[in-house]
């Protein structure tokens, strides 16, 4: 696509990068078809192609962001389905990142919007604060309906509705330490596991089962000292400095471990975080002190499913006889291009795996999206749940806490992290989520949508 | 008997396109309308009032270009179908839309021409899968009502250069222009064909069976149902209804697909297979409406509806003189005396969208009963506006389409 930047504009490396991204776009429009907001709202401005155009125009003309462009960029889920679709290789992720930074710098949001965003940024990444907030939210839940009636307060209502009934407290699996492999032979690897910030509050069992599984597979797992939020949340708000500070801090944490004992991988069980950590190398590319270290960290970052496929798996300990609908989190399938590993693992473990229709579409969770854009998120959730239920699964598996919370709030089918099923299949305890599951006769009438390779 | 034969109008036989065009400027013709005549084998439409001239395409004849490797033939409009079919047979090719020959049904004598086929959009049983004449037609040269020589379309399969006047001309019964030359797609002749015959089904069950057959990957390209009375008129059958499904292609492939189809339709009762020339004859008879080739002028309707609506229409009318092509969507109806136009057309409306054309009727009947199905007011207005853009002085078969 033709671009129109001055030499002076292109002197800024970030602008130059944006320009080179824009030049690849041929405006073919393929991306519109797989964009969740376009299929929901039917307006090109809420599609990748429309946003690319809005961004291009804003940057070329050196304009400050205005309400219109902020509206359309805010509606983007950053699911990156467009990048999977795009034949031209347009790096939409970094373009929209750049636009968000530009918005953060040049646009003053309305007060309530600012307060909500600040609150999320101050609470969610800090497990202590988040735990307290969730406990308090119990008292707020009855007021959700009230907040709904005021447009600007809808995010509050959404937040209250999403808050879980109970929280998981701190335990050994959320505190720094090292977990030795169970085997007696030479260990199969040494990995750092991202503790995470919101996930352990919502479901500490995910990392617990991950550690148990890895230990059983003869892998040493460390939870390094000094971890904090990976910066994903503020990154998506366009708060570049905060995000980069968070990234540098985490790079330091892992670098210490790399240089002190060595790491085969940095294992991540929340794919939303994984996408950001894998991008540290890019985020810090212009920081001479960190560029190299960050690239090394990004190269080591692996989703748990990716890492497991590098290990030799034993024969499953059980025969689960269970049909799993695998929900592919956007951050995994589009952000990290991890598409088949989780399904391959589940199949190898003996589960029957189904691909729900429209698997490329986001469930509406998308970090804090379901709080900031509750109406669109609710439509996407309904669509996602309907698609999943069409496959008539016994249980739903996914690799991202956001999706688990979002989809779980819309269906009575048990939903849990993929790793919990795998841990069970390979000798761990049966996940508590399955307590509700009563095996029924297999329904052979309905055509079965087998998972694609 | 063609309309033009009723009295003795002058018959003009221009020998080329320019000569056709010149007729529209020729003051000695008094600006009278022209009845366009090819082989005069399909007098279907409202007779043109006197006085008028007859413009015959008899001398606009001959194949202009035919290259089998390109699957295209160009022929002048007055070229007899027999000549075209002979040339195609030599090239081991055929017209995929199976144009019907109206002579048996209408008792006409002349030699049907390619221009007539196109002007009437004549299409046989294969229309259900591979399209009508309009779908094979690639280009047309014609002279419009003001004497302009116009070219539209071309000779290549894919062409979206400008408005597709080719489609308008096809099936316009000479009311938009005098076609001088047509270009159409031809396809390789198939190695063989077989017809699977289901015996004794009711029209409703036949519709279900035909729909099931069409939903298979067996590539059925003919699906017809003949109730007992109609079946008796076709050589191969007697005594009971037959439901016919045709499969064409390379020999092995045909065998495999017929076998598969029999498996799929097993629950529909007794089945037999007709092969080769016997199969070809069956479909030729259906194409040419042989069941109603009775030497009479009893009114015959050609009704086009959704495939599953065909038998409902016949049931609503309470007529037993009917048979079905196009998976049940093309219904041929024979009436006893009166065409009962209103009743037939009401029944069409009752079973959903569609249209009924009074294909066979006396000249007197055609003068008083709309031969073509009346359309809604807005479409009629639009169609008339279009017609006037081709023929502002009403010189081309005026009134023919109602």
């Amino acid at each position: 696509m033709q671009t129109n930047f001055s030499i002076a504009q292109l002197a800024d490396p970030a602008t130059a990068e944006a320009e080179s991204i824009l030049r690849k776009c041929v405006h073919c429009g393929f991306c519109t078809a797989t964009c969740p907001t376009y299929v929901t709202l039917g307006n090109e401005l809420d599609s990748p192609r429309g946003r690319i155009y809005l961004i291009k125009d804003m940057l070329e003309n050196g304009r400050d962001a205005d309400t219109q462009i902020v509206t359309h960029i805010d509606r983007c889920l950053s699911c990156l389905a467009c990048m999977t679709t795009c034949p031209s290789g347009v790096d939409y992720m970094h373009l929209v990142d750049h636009a968000r930074v530009h918005i953060e710098k040049t646009y003053k949001r309305p007060l309530i919007n600012r307060l909500t965003r600040n609150m999320l940024a101050m609470v969610l990444p800090y497990p202590g604060r988040f735990r307290a907030a969730v406990t308090l939210s119990k008292f707020g839940k009855p007021f959700a309906g009230l907040f709904d009636s005021v447009s600007a307060l809808k995010p509050m209502a959404a937040m209250l509705r999403l808050a879980p009934g109970s929280v998981d407290g701190k335990n050994t699996y959320t505190l720094p330490g090292s977990f030795a492999p169970e085997g007696t032979s030479e260990k199969a690897g040494r990995v750092a596991l991202l503790t995470g910030c919101a996930q352990p509050v919502l479901d500490a069992d995910i990392n617990r089962t991950t550690i148990q599984l890895l230990n059983r597979l003869n892998v040493e797992v460390v939870l390094p000292q000094g971890e904090a939020c990976c910066g994903s949340l503020v990154h998506h708000m366009g708060r570049e400095h905060q995000a980069h500070d968070a990234a540098r801090r985490m790079v330091d944490v892992w670098t210490r471990e790399i240089e002190n004992g060595g790491l085969d991988a940095i294992v991540i069980t929340t794919s939303g975080c994984g996408t950001t950590i894998k991008d540290y190398g890019h985020m810090l590319q212009r920081d001479p002190d960190y560029a190299e270290k960050a690239a090394r960290v990004s190269a080591l970052a692996k989703d748990i499913s990716e890492y497991l496929t590098t290990l030799e798996m034993p024969a499953p300990a059980i025969q689960p006889e269970m049909t799993v609908a695998y929900h592919s989190a956007c951050s995994l399938q589009h952000g990290q291009k991890v598409k088949t590993a989780p399904k391959d693992l589940l199949k190898a473990a003996g589960f029957t795996v189904k691909d729900p229709p429209e698997g490329h579409l986001c469930c509406g969770s998308a970090g804090t999206y379901n709080i900031m854009q509750p109406e669109i998120a609710a439509k996407l959730k309904a669509r996602k749940v309907a698609n999943i239920e069409r496959t008539q699964p016994d249980v739903i598996a996914a690799g991202n806490i956001g999706c688990l919370t979002q989809i779980g709030s819309g269906t009575s089918i048990p939903i849990l992290h993929t790793v919990k099923l795998l841990n069970w299949a390979y000798g761990g305890r049966r996940p508590a989520e399955l307590d509700a599951f009563v095996p029924t006769a297999v329904n052979h009438d309905k055509p079965v949508l087998e998972a694609a390779e | 008997m063609s309309v033009a034969d009723l009295v003795k109008p002058s018959v003009l036989e221009p020998t080329d396109e320019q000569a056709v065009a010149a007729l529209f400027q020729d003051g000695s013709l008094d600006g009278l309308p022209f009845v366009i005549r090819g082989g005069a084998t399909r007098p279907i439409g409202k007779p043109v009032k006197q006085p008028h001239h007859v413009l015959s395409t008899a001398k606009l004849s001959g194949i202009v270009d035919y290259e089998p490797a390109e699957m295209v033939m160009i022929a002048k409009a007055g070229t007899p179908m027999a000549e075209i079919e002979a040339a195609l047979a030599k090239g081991r090719q055929r017209m995929i839309f199976e144009p019907m020959d109206y002579r048996p049904l209408l008792g006409t004598k002349g030699a049907p021409t390619i221009g007539g086929v196109i002007a009437s959009n004549a299409s046989g049983p294969r229309r259900i899968v591979t399209g009508a004449a309009r779908d094979s037609l690639l280009g047309v040269r014609f002279v419009n009502g003001t004497g302009d020589i116009v070219k539209t379309g071309g000779r290549v399969m894919k062409n979206v250069t400008g408005l597709d006047l080719v489609k308008l001309l096809c099936g316009s019964w000479g009311t938009l222009g005098v076609m001088s030359e047509v270009t159409f797609k031809v396809v390789p002749e198939v190695e063989t064909e077989q017809t699977l015959v289901l015996h004794g089904l009711t029209a409703g069950d036949a519709a279900t069976a035909m729909a099931a057959a069409m939903a298979t990957p067996c590539e059925v390209n003919g699906a017809a149902h003949l109730p007992a009375k109609a079946a008796a008129k076709i050589g191969a059958f007697d005594g009971h209804s037959v439901t016919l499904l045709r499969i064409e292609g390379f020999e092995n492939s045909v065998k495999i697909r017929v076998g598969k189809l029999m498996d799929i339709l097993r629950s529909h009762g007794e089945m037999t297979v007709q092969e080769g020339s016997a199969s070809r004859q069956i479909w030729r008879d259906i194409r040419d409406v042989e069941p109603f080739d009775d030497g009479t002028m009893k009114p015959v309707w050609r009704v086009s509806v959704a495939p599953m609506a065909g038998h409902q229409l016949v049931a609503a009318l309470g007529i037993d003189d009917a048979f079905y092509d196009w998976q049940g969507g093309l219904v041929w109806l024979r009436m006893d005396g009166d065409p009962e136009a209103q009743k037939v057309r009401n029944a069409v409306a009752q079973v959903g969208a569609g249209h009924a054309t009074l294909v066979r009727a006396s000249v007197e009947e055609r003068a008083k009963t709309p031969v073509f199905h009346p359309q809604d007011a807005a479409v009629t207005k639009l169609s008339e506006a279009i017609r006037l853009r081709f023929d502002p002085a009403n010189r081309l078969n005026p009134g023919w389409m109602g």
């Binding site: 696509m1 033709q2 030049r23 041929v26 073919c28 429009g29 393929f30 519109t32 078809a33 797989t34 039917g42 307006n43 090109e44 401005l45 429309g50 155009y53 125009d57 034949p87 031209s88 290789g89 | 089998p68 490797a69 699957m71 295209v72 959009n121 399209g131 302009d148 070219k151 290549v156 399969m157 894919k158 062409n159 400008g162 489609k167 308008l168 096809c170 099936g171 316009s172 938009l176 396809v187 390789p188 729909a211 069409m214 939903a215 990957p217 492939s253 697909r257 086009s304 509806v305 959704a306 495939p307 599953m308 969208a353 249209h355 009346p374 809604d376 009629t380 639009l382 506006a385 389409m401």
Partner: protein, 489 residues
């Protein structure tokens, strides 16, 4: 690029912009109208990005009634109207003009009804082509026309451009698979043309609507024909040392009486581009590649393939490679269907769409190479060989004005080459603005007069998509067809 002139915006229309927008908002609500100048820019072009004009407004109706209300108003006010489906046109069919209102169908994208026994499906115009096949796939059916943009392009746009695709060699193009449309006429009247029956009474108005490029009215719904899926389908790759050999092989396959479902051609640059995107396993050591697809049961496909291989051997085929799984077959098609977009990874391009008689393929390929070479440009050829529908992609740098001019001139020469070879300007992309000024190269003034006369019958004031299809020099003194002026693109 500035070669194609666009009409001077009507000052009288523009001066009443606020009034029009406010009225449109009363018809559709504020959410149904885009009027912010920065937002409107996103609608300034489609898949033919060389030309761009910001429209006066964009409206996004949700029902046929809303389309009718809007169209009636705009026509009464003599405001030019440009319909837009998914905006994927490669000929500029959805490019607006500055005094125009775009009527976007993107909010009318539902499948309304499916009848498997009649094999018909009723769909709103904004639904994507692929969504139709996806909706019926579980029952063993598909919708046959498959333009490469089928993932995104709308069925309404397909009808407007009579879109084709790779598989129309066997199944035909849009017009052969369309049974009916709901059409909103310029005065707001809603008519149904065709329907579930195979043909309709009177003139074939459906036939004239198909391929009319949004100039006769606005389609809001369509009834399309469903086709039973074949038992199996197998794309096979045939690699040749020269484009000429591949071209000759195509001509012989067809000439022998074998009609595969699809025969697609790629030359070396196209192979490189597509392989880089799709990793489909295309052979990289050949200069020309045919993707030949056969259908049916295994036995049928084997039989057909044996016949094709025999012919290919006569043309010194270097590589014959069958897809071994459904995944591999899907990748082969993914690569082919992404060819245009994937070209964006290496260069800007204009995509031509001329069609030539099959026998002329080798000649036209050679001439194409010569002409492009003379302009000092590069070309990638990827096209539907089975029906002679060429798609040379002229590669250039859009930010280099000199090269852009050259590319445009080169494109015009290639289209003339197709017409000279007995073909036409456009096989499936439509005339749009791109080929508008070449229409007199293919047609005489009289030919175009007849087409324009038909257009007049639908839209006497030329309100609908007026800058497209018909060259200004051929329009005479028609109203609404105002004098064009050059616009800086």
């Amino acid at each position: 690029m500035t070669g194609i002139a666009m009409p001077r915006p009507d000052a009288a229309v523009l001066s009443r912009r606020d009034e029009h927008i406010s009225h449109l908002k009363t018809l559709l609500g504020p959410d149904g109208v885009v009027s912010d100048v920065n937002e409107l820019r996103a609608f300034e072009t489609d898949g033919f990005t060389a030309y761009r004009f910001v429209p006066m407004a964009v409206v996004l109706p949700q029902t046929t009634q809303e389309v009718s209300n809007v169209l009636r108003y705009l026509a009464e006010q003599k405001v030019p109207v440009v319909p837009r489906g998914a905006g994927t046109s490669l000929s500029g069919g959805a490019i607006p003009q500055e005094d125009a209102v775009i009527i976007g169908l993107s909010r009318m994208a539902q499948i309304m009804d499916i009848n498997y026994q009649n094999r018909t499906l009723n769909v709103q115009a904004g639904a994507t082509n692929l969504s139709i096949s996806e909706a019926v796939s579980g029952e063993g059916f598909f919708y046959a026309p498959d333009p490469s943009s089928q993932l995104a392009c709308s069925i309404g746009g397909n009808i407007a451009m009579n879109s084709g695709g790779a598989h129309c060699l066997k199944y035909g193009v849009t017009t052969n698979n369309l049974l009916g449309v709901t059409l909103v006429l310029i005065d707001g009247t809603v008519v149904e043309l065709g329907g579930e029956a195979l043909d309709s009474a009177g003139y074939d108005l459906l036939g004239i609507i198909c391929g009319s490029e949004g100039q006769l009215g606005i389609m809001t719904e369509a009834v399309v024909r469903l086709v039973a899926k074949p038992e199996g389908a197998r794309p096979v790759l045939f690699g040749f040392d020269t484009s000429e050999a591949a071209g000759a092989c195509v001509a012989e396959i067809i000439g022998t009486g074998i009609v595969p479902v699809a025969i697609e051609f790629m030359d070396k640059p196209a192979i490189d581009i597509c392989e880089a995107f799709a990793q489909a396993g295309y052979p990289m050591d050949v200069d020309a590649l045919l993707i030949v697809e056969v259908e049916g049961s295994d036995a049928e496909m084997d039989d057909m393939l044996a016949r094709i291989v025999e012919i290919a051997n006569r043309h010194d085929v270097k590589v014959v490679k069958e897809s071994q799984s459904a995944t591999e077959a899907a990748l082969i098609w993914k690569g082919r269907k992404s060819a245009f977009g994937a070209t964006g990874r290496i260069a800007d391009y204009i995509c031509m769409d001329g069609t030539v008689p099959l026998g002329k393929l080798p000649y036209v390929l050679k001439e194409t190479a010569r002409i492009v070479n003379e302009y000092g440009l590069r070309v990638a050829n990827v096209f539907h060989a089975g029906d002679g529908n060429m798609h040379p992609l002229i590669l250039y740098d859009v930010n280099d004005p000199v090269e852009a001019e050259k590319a445009e001139a080169c494109g015009m020469d290639l289209l003339k080459l197709c017409v000279d070879a007995g073909g036409c300007l456009t096989g499936e992309h439509g005339v749009g603005i791109e080929k508008r000024d070449l229409m007199l190269y293919q047609y005489s003034q009289t030919d175009l007069d007849q087409q324009m006369a038909v257009r007049d019958a639908f839209d006497p004031d030329w309100v609908m998509n007026p800058a497209k299809v018909f060259p200004y020099e051929a329009r005479g003194n028609r109203q609404g067809a105002s004098q064009p002026v050059d616009q800086a693109a």
